[in-house]
């Protein structure tokens, strides 16, 4: 190899797949990440919201405490892929915003590590020990801090003029997005929406504990309401979002905001199959929110950054290998779970 510059390097800016494919994978994996994250956040909130003297010795709570580190592992694992595809398609604006808030951005893995450790510690407390609650509070606080940094950074990434202005004022990476109306309601919407979805998942996990299920239903209703109000605040306060969303975007945003409320109403009713219907409503709401987010991002960035612009130099052979590996991974995980939940297996927890 020569140190002299090579005359013709491959195009370093070409992307290895068409934008539609990268977007589909980004959104799909992001939804999976959100389901895991929401289940964790919602579960923790339900446990902390449940007021009873025997809270920390209830079998259902013990089961949830054991589940939280697993959900955290799933959140992190499933978060890797959307981050990868995000960097590929939106690297220019995402990196720039992250560098502008670098100190906070860099804190994210450490905050997540501390949250993970707190969840582990909570799961290892003996039955009846209220110390688990303190550890859960800490974990929730840390997770909310992580989502705060995410909301601030990704809202900033959608406004290149804003991060350019901010960077000019300070290149130290010690600044969060000052344009709070573009991201605080967004953050609230994300947290409350996650709590609603997670509360529903928690209801499914604790089928043998009616009191905890009632708490979960309460959390679902209240979180759904906060998420809907936060969505309304976003649209009212953030003029750029209002301008950016077309009919489709508004529709998706509206569906995303109203579905948790619909799910909460279904849970309170007495119709047969209401749990399934509520789950479907929440699933629809989650997907609609992700689509609305995507539409808003593209519209906000229009004119300053086009993620579909780079030359496509597809690597179909490697992509095919990825699909094969993904299918094999899904098959292997299904087998492992089948072994784990096989009939006759004693329950350790």
């Amino acid at each position: 190899m020569s140190l002299r510059p090579l005359a013709a390097l491959p195009d370093l800016h070409a992307v290895p797949g068409p934008f539609w494919l990268l977007t589909a994978l980004h959104l799909l994996t992001f939804v999976l990440h959100l389901v895991a994250m929401a289940s964790l956040v919602g579960g923790v909130i339900v446990v902390l919201a449940h007021r009873s003297t025997d809270r920390w010795s209830r079998p259902a709570v013990r089961r949830l405490l054991a589940l939280f580190p697993v959900l955290m592992a799933a959140t992190v694992s499933l978060g890797v892929a959307p981050l990868l595809f995000l960097q590929l398609s939106y690297g220019k604006v995402a990196y720039s915003a992250a560098i502008t808030s670098a100190t906070f951005w860099l804190l994210v893995p450490f905050l997540a590590m501390a949250a993970y450790a707190s969840l582990y510690a909570a799961s290892h407390r003996p039955p009846g020990d209220a110390g688990a609650g303190r550890r859960l509070h800490l974990a929730l606080l840390l997770l909310m801090a992580v989502s705060l940094v995410y909301s601030s950074t990704f809202a900033l990434a959608e406004h290149p003029d804003a991060y350019a202005r901010l960077y000019k004022a300070s290149a130290s990476g010690l600044v969060l997005n000052p344009d709070v109306v573009t991201w605080i309601p967004r953050w609230l919407q994300a947290i409350a929406g996650a709590a609603a979805v997670g509360a529903f998942v928690t209801r499914l996990v604790v089928r043998d504990d009616e009191a905890l299920r009632a708490t979960a239903a309460r959390v679902l209703g209240r979180s759904g309401l906060v998420a809907a109000l936060a969505t309304a605040a976003r649209v009212v306060l953030d003029a750029s979002l209002f301008d950016a969303l077309g009919f489709g975007g508004f529709l998706a945003l509206g569906v995303g905001a109203s579905c948790p409320l619909v799910a909460a109403a279904l849970i309170r009713g007495h119709a047969r199959g209401r749990e399934w219907a509520a789950g479907a409503a929440l699933g629809l709401g989650l997907v609609a929110s992700v689509v609305a987010r995507h539409v808003a991002r593209l519209a906000t960035l229009a004119g300053t950054f086009d993620p579909a612009a780079p030359t496509v130099r597809p690597q179909w052979d490697v992509f095919a290998l990825f699909v094969v590996c993904l299918l094999a991974a899904i098959g292997t995980m299904a087998w492992m779970l089948r072994v784990w939940f096989a009939k006759g297996t004693p329950r350790a927890e």
């Binding site: 510059p5 491959p10 694992s77 052979d317 784990w340």
Partner: protein, 500 residues
């Protein structure tokens, strides 16, 4: 340049090393530990050895949080760090290997689930199912190494990719196989280190000694194979890089020396434990872990340093500039290409061209090189960056931009004249002038030593020679006193025989 540059006091190299070395330490343990666990469990179950089975169970309880909380999240942490420190090179890697990373992610998912179920499945699963999960875990973890190894080695030896742009040419590059062999062996070494640490919790002294001996054997085997594979790895690195280690890259040379020294120390430690396993205690286990950490860190530091001045050899420089673009920047200017500006031209030039490796006054400080000098000297030196001992990327920009950066640096540097610096530090004035104005590119008795060319010249002739200049070396621009001191120093050097 599409991205802003984070201007923080801490050195980028230190930041990267902190996260990366911890991650590689834990992630290699995650692989080797997985193999050690499943092999030990299988053998213990076969032999009905309850004590070893209890040890394996203890190890798995330590293993899951260490690898999931520490290993996985520091891995994610590397993503966060490299995106901040070198978004340009990171972007190039992602565009080239996104499907490779996606494949690795599928193994990662399996690995995480298997680790959780394995650690929690002792009382729930049949022995056969439990061991099977252990094998799935190890296979998935090792396959993720198989993938990531291709991307990591690509950065040093992109091989035929630079001509074809083919994923496979980049992935199966010249250092791929030696590196895979070496890292696989390192996994075993890490398993031996951590296994020995956990074995100390075994209450029965005889069983503990047996476990310690087994872990020492595993660690020693891993070390020997890793060390042998390292020679193959070194042999696959282009000569141009390896040649520079001895002459121009003191950091890489020191890392290499440290690697050799710590290899011997680790081997000695393992041999002692093999012979005298009963002396194993917490301090010895911690000492061995620290030695292992230093050993692995030395290798990683060498791997990072040897590819200077590149982030991706021959493709992207360490500062994020694409190789070959410097010609266009020299013609059209660099600053117009900077998308996000600070408002200070000199600072923007410093941040984009130097900040990846240097701070002003802290880590790897750049201002020290300009203490007591002048803007003309600084601007001239910037023209020859790529000739300097430490192998730096060439300056990308116009002559005017070089002047702007040179002035910006000198304005911030210590203004104490060189004569006064020499008096303050008790050094020879001529020696200080030489070290400051010549020594970055011409090391006495070392890299690019030109003192022999002054052999036989009179002081007047040496004085004349100092007026020489070219694109890569500025004419002497110091004070008359500095010139005279330097002339005397050069004449004395030539009398000593110059280059050895």
């Amino acid at each position: 340049m599409e991205f802003p540059v984070w201007d923080v006091g801490i050195g980028y190299g230190i930041l990267m090393a902190l996260v990366a070395v911890v991650h590689v330490f834990l992630s290699h343990f995650a692989i080797g530990g997985g193999l050690a666990l499943v092999l030990a469990e299988r053998r213990a179950r076969r032999d009905g050895d309850a004590a070893v089975l209890a040890h394996v169970r203890r190890l798995s309880a330590f293993f899951a949080p260490a690898t999931l909380v520490g290993g996985a999240l520091t891995g994610v942490g590397i993503w966060f760090v490299i995106g901040l420190l070198n978004p340009s090179a990171t972007g190039t890697l992602i565009r080239t290997f996104v499907w490779g990373w996606a494949i690795e992610w599928t193994f990662f998912l399996v690995e995480i689930l298997a680790a959780i179920l394995y650690a929690r499945g002792w009382d729930r699963l049949s022995a056969k199912a439990h061991v099977a999960l252990g094998w799935v875990y190890f296979a998935a973890a090792w396959l993720s190494l198989v993938v990531i190894n291709g991307i990591v080695t690509f950065m040093l030896t992109p091989g035929r990719w630079v001509e074809t742009g083919s994923f496979w040419d980049g992935f199966l590059n010249p250092t791929y196989l030696p590196s895979l062999a070496m890292r696989t062996a390192i996994c075993l070494l890490m398993a031996g280190l951590f296994g020995g640490f956990v074995a100390l919790k075994t209450p029965d002294a005889a069983v503990r000694a047996r476990l310690v001996r087994g872990d020492a054997r595993l660690g020693l085997a891993g070390l020997v194979v890793a060390y042998a594979a390292f020679f193959l790895y070194r042999a696959a690195i282009p000569a141009e890089f390896m040649d520079a280690v001895a002459t121009r890259l003191p950091v890489a040379a020191r890392s290499l020396a440290r690697f050799d020294l710590l290899s011997a120390a680790l081997a000695g430690g393992f041999v002692v434990l093999l012979v005298l396993p009963r002396i194993a205690c917490r301090p010895t286990a911690i000492l061995l872990l620290l030695l292992g950490f230093g050993w692995f860190g030395s290798f990683e530091w060498f791997r990072e340093a040897v590819r200077k001045p590149y982030a991706i050899a021959g493709v992207v420089y360490g500062n994020g500039l694409e190789v070959g673009t410097e010609t266009a920047y020299a013609k059209d200017g660099f600053l117009p290409s900077v998308a996000v500006r600070t408002g200070d031209d000199g600072r923007d030039l410093f941040l984009h061209q130097c900040r990846t490796c240097h701070t002003l006054t802290g880590y790897n400080p750049v201002l020290r090189a300009f203490a007591g000098t002048d803007p003309a000297f600084a601007a001239g030196v910037l023209g020859g960056l790529h000739k300097m001992r430490g192998r730096m990327p060439p300056f990308a920009g116009t002559a005017r931009e070089r002047e702007v950066l040179g002035r910006w640096l000198v304005e911030r540097a210590d203004k104490t004249p060189l004569a006064e610096q020499a008096r303050r530090d008790g050094r020879d004035f001529g020696d200080v002038v030489y070290a400051t104005r010549c020594g970055r590119c011409h090391v006495e008795g070392g890299y690019n030593d030109k003192s022999a060319t002054f052999a036989g010249l009179s002081e007047a002739e040496v004085r004349d020679a100092l007026t020489l200049e070219n694109d890569e070396m500025p004419a002497f621009s110091g004070t008359p006193e500095e010139r005279e001191a330097l002339v005397r120093h050069l004449v004395s050097l030539s009398k000593k025989g110059g280059a050895k």
